[in-house]
Symmetry: C2
Subunit: 111 residues, 2 copies
DNA sequence: CGAATACTGAGCCATGCGGCTAAGTATTCG
DNA sequence: CGAATACTTAGCCGCATGGCTCAGTATTCG
């Protein structure tokens, strides 16, 4: 569970940057090399590589080197962590709503 | 759209911290004062207040001061930004899957 | 009124992040 | 083989973040 939280940290941190979100969006249309991806952003390659490493570290993408080219692929399953977290939150709210409704019903019945 | 992206930044940044996610979870069960919330975390009040301000800045929570007590309330609608973003991603993947399927179908027909 | 409570503001500090350049390595092409 | 390509490594820089303390303000309670 602490591990789950650390993974969530990494995913949220990875997505808390416009550049990295753009990479995710781009990779949604299919794999691409680091060079191809980098060309779309106004920064030097080493700077861009840091973003790639951050994304890879979070598990949101996978990369593999073949020859001198590193290809990046989206790991769609990883975003399920966000779904899970959102579902957890909604579960908590629902419990509260249920409790409130029970409370209202009960107190109404008592009058 | 650039504004939408800036808002996403703030939401993701706000959620990229264990403490702040815990606050969100806690507020899911109902409003609470800054002091009550802070008591659950091993840090000084001014440090905790920074987290509260970050959350408020992102729009995820709302706070209001009454007397000497500041009460924090969850703003559930704000998490819809995450749903929207996730839906956007899935839309992109779906397009790609559709294209791939069309490609496979077309090339199969040609043989 | 005076003391306790609940923040609030100012400012310090260490660390990390996102950018850069310069130089190095490993493949591939002619 | 030599040049071009595609990263990769190392290291610097400025700023933001997340923690702290200490002192201040505004309410509330006895």
């Amino acid at each position: 569970m602490a591990q789950y939280s650390a993974q969530l940290d990494e995913v949220f941190i990875a997505l808390a940057d416009q550049t990295r979100r753009s990479v995710i969006r781009r990779l949604g249309r299919g794999p691409a090399s680091v060079g191809d991806l980098a060309r779309e952003f106004p920064m030097a390659l080493p700077s861009f590589m840091k973003h790639v490493r951050t994304l890879e570290g979070s598990g949101l993408i996978h990369t593999a080197k073949s020859g001198r080219v590193r290809t990046c692929t989206l790991n769609r399953e990883r975003l399920a962590l966000l779904d899970d977290w959102l579902a957890e939150q909604r579960g908590i709210w629902q419990e509260r709503t249920d409790r409130l409704e029970r409370f209202v019903t009960d107190t109404t019945e008592d009058q």
